[in-house]
Subunit: 314 residues, 2 copies
């Protein structure tokens, strides 16, 4: 794509053309030098979509739940985008698509856009890529953007930081309460959903979670996160989840928390972009590589990392 | 602690005094302003310890394996430190000690130092804290430092990046091969250990893993990671693991890979410290907060994050 093509593609993407939306997400994924221009063009049109993060350990039924949520959101007339971020991609070099296939119910629905995205991490990784991809989907006019990580555990908390509403999924038999507490999920969920609730132990998971939530130090006191039950494979309980998302959205707006969260996210995003620009500069100063020289000196014990960092900044 | 006390405590820590070692790790954990001085004093004395990262999903037996490894390393005459990093601590405000208690076999052994550490993330999180804590343990004369994350999944890959030798633990019944591939573990392990090998399915896990490793693109071609079997609770197979650690160490040294990995790590460490210093500066420029102002402008659509980042750097 050339710089001259940007305005046309941005216009089409704003009109909801899936191919143009996909191309803009690819620009984010590929860390294209055109991005500053794209983001400048999108800036006035973003801020409408409600971003819902979906987190949970492998096996809790994330993809099935996402699929069910799409269905219910569609029934309520919303246009829905799904962004599945694959943070293992620094290593594998591409998103694994298996999970996407399980969302196949909605492949032919023009009101649904589903996209896997690698977060290769050459630049700022997840923190660099995700907000920009979300801004593309937002400016493209989707009412709800569901964002989840593909793969095991990593970066769940980071993804939660990108969402307006974070849903934490659990399931019976996926590890005890202490595991949950360790993962930090008691602090990040706006909604908790015990999926596979037709299985033994679902009520116990729900009970344990409720009592742990009662003890946890929450980032906000005014919203008490509900603990719901679903069987996503049959759709059981999914309406209640969408109701709860809408309630949370209302609360975010009336309390001013929506704005606060978005300012915090924009802050992180600006910082990540600025720091990334600096790292690029440091990686290639003059003919040699200053950072490598300093690193050699640290390894040999000639200096220490703090002194080296001071020199780098000087 | 005062700046005047630093040299004395560093000397005692270098002599192996556990209380002094613990105090220095606490300085790292607390992001003390004394750290630059401490690190300067330690720099000439680090670089001897072999850092072994232990990763694996919850339930594979990480703590039991660590406990068994300590035992075998002690039998071979090594002084051993264990650093258990708790990346969930940005939220919980402290390390969970349950796992440590399971390593209780070695609590009274003066040749073993075990320490949990929060990675609160006010500064650079795990990437800021871990290398500095490892340098303390290294300079304190431990021959082997075992480093592992406490809690679920997150940052396993990051911890692997800090180690000379990374052990990836698996166990039967912990999820299929695709899960493993997704987590990126095929690329990070120097040694793979199927623990709980007395259980059904251990041989299948081992076979699957071997065939996936055969297909994976590895960061280095010269080292073929072995896939071993243990039953850590009985000690079965643990000698072989320590043999493999020693073989890997020899390979790292003769191939030059040890130096390369350490330079890469020092590079990351310097960069993290430098970027953290910048972030601190940005957080409090003048009387207002420039970053907050820019974030407000991004949220309202008046500007975009790239333009805001340029302004921040200007």
């Amino acid at each position: 794509m050339t710089a001259a093509a940007v305005p046309g593609i941005v216009d089409k993407a704003r009109g909801g053309d899936p191919r143009s939306v996909g191309r803009l997400v690819s620009l984010v994924e590929d860390e294209s030098p055109l991005l500053p221009e794209v983001m400048r063009a999108l800036a006035p049109h973003a801020g409408r979509a409600h971003v819902v993060g979906i987190t949970g350990s492998p096996g809790v039924g994330k993809s099935t739940s996402t699929n069910a949520l799409i269905g219910e959101l569609r029934r309520r007339g919303h246009r829905v985008a799904v962004l599945a971020v694959d943070p293992s991609s620094p290593f594998s070099g591409g998103a694994l698509l298996g999970d996407r296939i399980r969302m196949g119910d909605h492949v032919l629905d023009p009101g649904v856009f589903i996209r896997s995205m690698a977060a290769r991490g050459h630049l700022g990784g997840l923190a660099w890529t995700t907000p920009q991809a979300l801004r593309v989907l937002d400016a493209a006019g989707f009412d709800v953007v569901l964002v989840e990580t593909v793969g095991v555990g990593q970066s769940e908390v980071e993804i939660a930081g990108q969402a307006d509403t974070t849903i934490v999924l659990l399931a019976p038999g996926m590890g005890d309460g202490i595991q949950a507490a360790k993962a930090g999920i008691l602090e990040i969920g706006d909604l908790y959903v015990v999926n596979k609730s037709d299985r033994d132990g679902a009520d116990k998971v729900r009970r344990d979670l409720r009592s742990m939530l009662g003890l946890a130090e929450r980032r906000d006191e005014a919203w008490r996160p509900p603990v719901l039950k679903t069987t996503a494979s049959s759709g059981q309980g999914v309406e209640d989840v969408v109701d709860a998302i809408e309630e949370h959205r209302s609360w975010l707006e009336t309390s001013g928390e929506l704005r606060r969260r978005r300012v915090r996210r924009a802050r992180d995003e600006i910082e990540t972009i600025a720091l990334t620009a600096l790292r690029r500069r440091w990686g290639s100063v003059g003919s040699g590589d200053r950072l490598d020289e300093l690193a050699e000196a640290v390894v040999s014990g000639a200096t220490d990392a703090h002194t080296a960092a001071d020199e780098l900044l000087a």
